[in-house]
Amino acid sequence: MTFEIDYLALAPELVVVATMLIVFTLDLVLPRARKFWTATAAVAGTAAAAVPLVILASEGTVRSMFDGSYVVDEFALVLKGVFIVAAYLVLLMSHHYIESDRYYQGEYYFLLLASVLGSLVMASSRDLIILFIGLELTTGPLYLLAGWRKGDVKSNEASMKYFILGVLSTAILLYGMSMLYGLTGEVTFAGLAGATAGRGDEPAIVVAILFLIVGFGFKISAVPFHFWAPDTYEGAPTPITAYLSVNSKAAGFVAMLLVMYLALPDVADIWAPALWLLAAASMTVGNLGALRQTNIVRLLAYSSIAQAGFMLVPFAAAAVAGADLEEAFSATVIYLVIYAVMNLGAFSVVIAGARKTRSGEIAAWSGLGQIDARLGVLVIVFFFSLAGIPPLAGWFAKFAMFRSVIIAGGTSTVVLAVIAAVNSVIALYYYARVVKSVWLDDPIGEFVSEAEAAPAVSLRLALLLALGFTVVIGFFPTIATFVGDASRVIAAGG
């Protein structure tokens, strides 16, 4: 049979590819002094990739290729949008960061874009193989990027840990996939959905599914597969940490949701409780772990573990309660979107603050607010948003999460809801601790002078965008809900 390729549907990916090649060639031709053009190109390219997205979104038809193994529906578009925007912010963050130290800019952006490409592909994949390849492309470059600060042993260690656990998880994931294939003879989600129906009692199926969950659990750094996260986050270059905590986490989520929701809907009684446990464990462990952290990046690492837990909650709850998964779906996506924005904001603040304090230690940030009020306010906005304090975007994420849980109903979900509630209080404690040292404590160390610590234009832009999103969504969550609703349109393909 023949497969015709729908180039418009692939346009975003193609744009990114093109950008990669441009960046790469630029890097070859440009002298070191001019290398920053590569950054500009990367940023521009990413922005450009958004255009076809908008076009596709505007016509809103579901495009399906290769008998449904590659689908561009609203869900895919929304997620691609998230990936693109997040990537855009990360690039903005990276710009100055990478430039200031003599890293390999061209390669850096090339790899970053490769990872983005992977996530884009994955969002459309309706087939285990494409999913797997996409996932690999998403994470592969990151192993290297995590170690980008070559001279810094911490960075090396970060990448090494990430890599080893990464490949381990990949192996397990693959084993699970192979089992699935063997059991069903199918790799497309549609096919799997049909073939797995009602086979929830076979041990092999259980093993396969749980192996998949383990694989994804690593990507979203869910407890107990989270150990790499704090170390890697701390060691990796901060923009990469941001990228890890947002894009690759989101990618993991997308993969997991796709597989569970499209490929294994009828065996939910296996994966639902597993997700339930993962969610509860991640929230609790993540938050408790964050309580005592003294390094702000590390704190954010743990917080992102906890946040992953929160994100899992709706899906787990709904599935456990056997309720309509659509609500959960949109809730999770809403959470994902909001989380992406505010977390990136938080990391941008961390970068800016670190420039000012020359340290990632929370203690060193004491009294920052009194020296640089603007930065201080940003700290308040993003960290309280993460804590879910209205009227900052974060509240709606939590709100949507609780909402879908309650709607799911059932005892186990109520329990989960209570766990989540208690955790959100614990979370406030450590987020507030950062705000506290920034505003409530008196300055101890002296700060870098205004002039040289002034955040680069690109970073300012990133901060501005994140701030805008965080506040506006906070007041008019309809924007977020729109995304959530759009993401409900998800085609099984096939």
């Binding site: 509240w395 309650i406 506290k436």
Partner: protein
Amino acid sequence: MDWFETWGLTLTVFIPLAGALVLGAIPRDNENALKRLALVISVAAFVASLVVIGQFDFSGAPYNTYQFEVNEPWIGAINANYHVGIDGISLPLLVLSTFVMVLAVIYSWNHWEEPKNPKSFLILMLILATGLNGTFVALDLVLFFIFFEVVLVPMYFMIGIWGDRSPRKIPGFGKEVQTRLYASIKFFLFTLFGSAFMLLGFLALYFQSGESGVRTFDIVELTNLGAAGAFTGRFAFLVFGAMFLGFAVKVPMWPFHTWLPDAHTAAPTVGSVLLAAIMLKLGSYGFIRISLPILPQEAANWAPFIAILAVIGIIYGSLACLAQTDMKRLIAFSSVGHMGFVMLGIATMTDVGINAAVIGMVAHGLITGLLFFLAGSMSHRYHTREMSRLGGNMKLMPVMGGILAFTAMASLGLPGLAGFWGEFMSLVGAYNPLAGLSLGVFRTSMVLGAIGTVLTAGYMLYLLQQVNLGEPSDEWQGQEFRDVDRYELTAWVPLIVLIVVIGFYPRFIFSATTDSVVSLVDTIFNSDTTAALTRVASG
């Protein structure tokens, strides 16, 4: 001006927020401009609320109807609307809030705790104002929740930045912590803990409301459903419990009160004034506006429990007061007792009781607010709040001493002053609670509550004796103390006047509240005073 019908409340709520933004644009060092502008803004909000009174239709309030209602779609997906409106119950509280805010601005004119920075302080105050006003007019659970939460952040910073910098040994904690830091985070966590569960409760209601039509967060619709008995059984129990946590922490009811003394003691004067005068009311208001109407049957089940907690609060708070050495802390604990009376009134679920609660809230707002003003000004002059070191204040600052004495009398519920009605009427309510509620519990609580008034008198006299009377201790000898200055006077006199007016003419409040309350009680608990009054007293 019928445009005001639609815009009135929105203005009242958001003028301060807008003002805060404007203030942000003014340079930090231009203090006068900042203060003037802040004053103008708060006055504007106050005026707006006065106009609301002016156009408010006092002629009877049918059950569950609101005036100045605005209902615009807000978050379509979850069917949450920007629904604001006002009725006799919320009207006094709204005005109280805007009113006290003005006084607070006036007072802070020349009272800046360290580290000064008036700009941030005023901005926070204005944001706070928006949160407070908003909570009183919100008719949509989500909206209510937002405003309810928004209040936290400014107060957190007020306490945390301008709060008491002295270190304090916390029992159960290893090292000493700075009072303000400890208090602020404690306040924050407590309230958030409560409201997290409150939110769960709201969502559960939302979900359940889907059973009978479209899911909604609208308080009005939910109230109708509640009256129609849509929420009952274990569901109602859980939901009420969840919301109870949220509100009880805010009130605060025993045993969720422990954040209060710390917060009050640590907070800067204006902070504790706003905290006591308005913020505590959010909780009790929540009970009246949300818990009771939406879950009437369940409320009836919880009522005795609430009453018991309330009475414990009354006795407990008063006893705790007797043990205090810190003037401000004493006043803080007195709040626990007074709010106990409010909650007792609510628990009776009679129109008498609920009216008592509302007037009690207003009175407590005025009186305790004034007390905190005084405490602030004194520690401003004496640089201590230790009552053992104070004394003979009457000699050093006659006017301030006099005002303190007056306020103390008002606070101990002297008939003829505002404080009396809340206490007295909640006792009245407790004697004949809603038909079907355990008379035993409520009458016992009535007696205990009455005994509580004695204790209240006890610690208030103790306060006066310690602070006002006797000879000034030697350390103050020969020092010049500036008696009440004109900013303080402008801030306090209105309060004093109101306290007296309400004391002799409670109709000032009742004329607004009673219709709404009665219609509420009649419809939901289908009981009315005649029943309550003529029911054979011995039950």
